[in-house]
Symmetry: C2
Subunit: 415 residues, 2 copies
């Protein structure tokens, strides 16, 4: 397989775009990436498009990529729509990389896009809730509702007041899951709620330096701790928001990258995997894929200069520190306390603001992470630029089936 480089990247500011179609968001991201690469539309030989939820949100269930790309004059080439929940566009990038790495095409576009906001919020929530086994989830909710109805009847029979609560939305079920493992981490390692909050503070501060971030506000530790509790210990500011956005990259064979740019960013490893049933002492999917990625790239965690990882919640970032081998298990809290992962630290994590502050338009997130690493490695990240980066890593997870990520992608880049 031949070497592949990223030669252009572009994205729109993530945000709430109730009156802007996905076509417009995607077009702006693609045009920005093409301009960045110095590549014209007709030079694109194939396109892979990641989107997770347009079917349920806009009704555009099929040919999502073609609808967007044909409108802007890109056609007559392979266009593939791929989906892997929150890892949809890292998967699209992986496929685009494979097209080039295999030798089949020289210049390929990877696009990630998502419109989650809808005037009818139920559509957004139904879409987000579909990143699990929907059939099982419906059964679980039915069982929970039945159990609660029974409990309610029993309490009523005893003349007690009804208990509050009900079967959660799937969105909060995801956050319930994050809250569960955050509590387990606290119990096992003594990790504190303040440490989780410190991650949110860091990522929001980073986001304030990123003109493309959806939430540029800076928050104090107290702000984060005092924001509304979603599921103990998670507060609202520790959870990634809903958003709309699009991000695009142009990949080409490294052998011809010099035609387009003097600063190509090389793909050192492109890996995708999924969860599997395993025993408690076997590594989880992130650890396993990270090991494969390091081996493939010929680097270790100590060689990394900058990371964009999937902070769908603040505790997730802390645990992923450990899973990526940035520190020993249980030492994630110390890493954030010591400032190691700050932009000015030894190993900056989520300088873009991450999902927490830059935003998380599901199908756009993976490619947006890659855009950030592209800019960082080229020294183009302006106020949030990390010092002298050589090697960058992106980690993007998607969905959940039987308690593990349905999709997990890790990319390593070098300049």
């Amino acid at each position: 397989m031949r070497d592949v480089s990223v030669i252009g990247a572009g994205m729109v500011k993530f945000g709430k775009y109730l009156d802007t179609s996905m076509k417009v968001l995607a077009r702006n991201a693609v045009n920005s990436a093409l301009a960045s690469a110095g590549v014209e539309q007709k030079q694109i030989q194939a396109a892979v498009v990641g989107n997770a939820m347009a079917g349920l949100v806009t009704g555009q269930e099929c040919v999502r990529g073609q609808v967007v790309l044909r409108e802007m004059g890109i056609g007559g080439i392979p266009i593939i729509n791929c989906e892997n929940a929150c890892a949809s566009s890292a998967t699209a990038f992986h496929m685009a990389w494979l097209y080039v790495a295999s030798g089949m095409y020289d210049v390929v576009l990877a696009l990630g896009m998502e419109k989650l906001y809808h005037a009818d919020k139920r559509k957004s929530f139904a879409a987000i809730g579909s990143a699990v086994d929907v059939e099982l989830m419906e059964q679980m909710i039915a069982q929970m509702n039945a159990a609660q109805a029974k409990l309610k009847a029993e309490r009523a029979a005893r003349g007690e007041a009804p208990a509050s609560g009900g079967a959660g939305e799937s969105r909060s079920m995801f956050m319930d899951f994050y809250a569960n493992f955050a509590r387990a981490h606290m119990q096992r390692y003594g990790t504190t709620k303040e440490q989780f909050a410190r991650i949110a503070v860091k990522n929001h501060r980073n986001g304030s330096l990123n003109p493309l971030a959806q939430y540029p506000e800076v928050y104090t530790l107290e702000d984060v701790l005092n924001s509304p509790v979603i599921a103990e210990p998670l507060t609202r500011l520790m959870c990634s928001p809903i958003g709309d956005g699009a991000a695009a990259t142009v990949l080409c064979a490294s052998s011809i990258a010099g035609r387009y740019t003097s600063k190509p960013v090389k793909v050192l490893a492109s890996l995708l995997s999924s969860g599997v049933d395993h025993s408690a002492d076997e590594p989880g999917v992130v650890t396993r894929v990270a090991q494969q990625a390091y081996e493939k790239a010929g680097v270790g965690p100590n060689d990394l200069s900058v990371i964009e990882l999937h902070d769908a919640s603040a505790p997730a970032e802390l645990v992923i520190y450990e899973e990526l081998g940035l520190c020993e298990p249980g030492e994630g809290g110390k890493l954030i306390d010591d400032g190691v992962t700050e932009i000015g630290g030894r190993l900056p994590v989520n300088p873009s603001g991450g999902l927490l502050a830059k935003g998380h338009p599901v199908g756009a997130t993976g490619v947006a992470q890659i855009c950030e690493i592209f800019w960082q490695l080229r020294g183009e990240a302006d106020k949030r630029q990390v010092a002298n980066p050589r090697i960058g890593l992106t980690e993007n997870g998607g969905g959940m089936v039987r308690g593990e990520a349905a999709a997990l992608s890790i990319h390593v880049f070098g300049i």
Copy 2:
């Protein structure tokens, strides 16, 4: 890029499975393909899953493949969900082929699956209607409705009876498109309605020989001509039905195929493309991709022994004869009249029964076509076996954007 072979194929009988989940259909198809290949689940190194419409039909918008595969113990590997409307699983097969051809993985699964039947038929129709630009379609329907309301008001003002009809369902809009080009072909070349009907008769006769076909009934020319008119000249028996189904294939590097089977079926060409704006005298997408496929495979149309093509309607098959270069433009009618494309003819087309009779569970269709060619080339097609086949071709189209196929895939196979 290295050579790739298909070593196993399996599918379920296409049909109406209101009470059977997609998990069950997919599991049966995958197990059948694995058994056929002599490959165990744990030997599968990656899986690409094509599905077009589960989001709108079952609500499983995300991680469709993982939900199905993890349940049957397949995980810990790359699982990619891909969508290209009716060409979803040919696209999945193409990606699976690319994984192997690139050298990245040796043994890869390609699965296509679809559940279209739903107790609430509106869900099925909304899904099928989403294989076009939904935003544009809604605008068109609104304009048509406004025009019709205006007409109705004018007729009422003149004291006339209201005209019948209204803005069509998107399903019938697809068939309107097929009817339009069928009429154009009749006008330009003198093609007759009987010739279209003869294709339906052939494919239904072939389907009657296929135990996996959804509609095994045999029909006479009169039956087809006298079945209800969908859109002149299309009658119901000239249109592909709604269906549920799943189909799977196992691909591996040709260099190791001998470990599994003495009759591997080699992939001679795997191509995917999409429509593009072009002038009237430039070839359409099918012609263009066919030329590329022949070149890649080192064969011409005269070398083909058997074809499975996308007969979403009977006129489509006739026109695709010409686009694939099986005859000159305008000679498609003669080809069916002369019996060339019958199972016993010089170049059998759709011996499986095609979409018309075997059925068309959208996301399963592409891989099901490949299953049929696999069986035909290995001499395992029983009552519908064509004589001494050496080279087979599949053609699978999907969706429509700006008047051309959103996705078009052609594969050439040899034994």
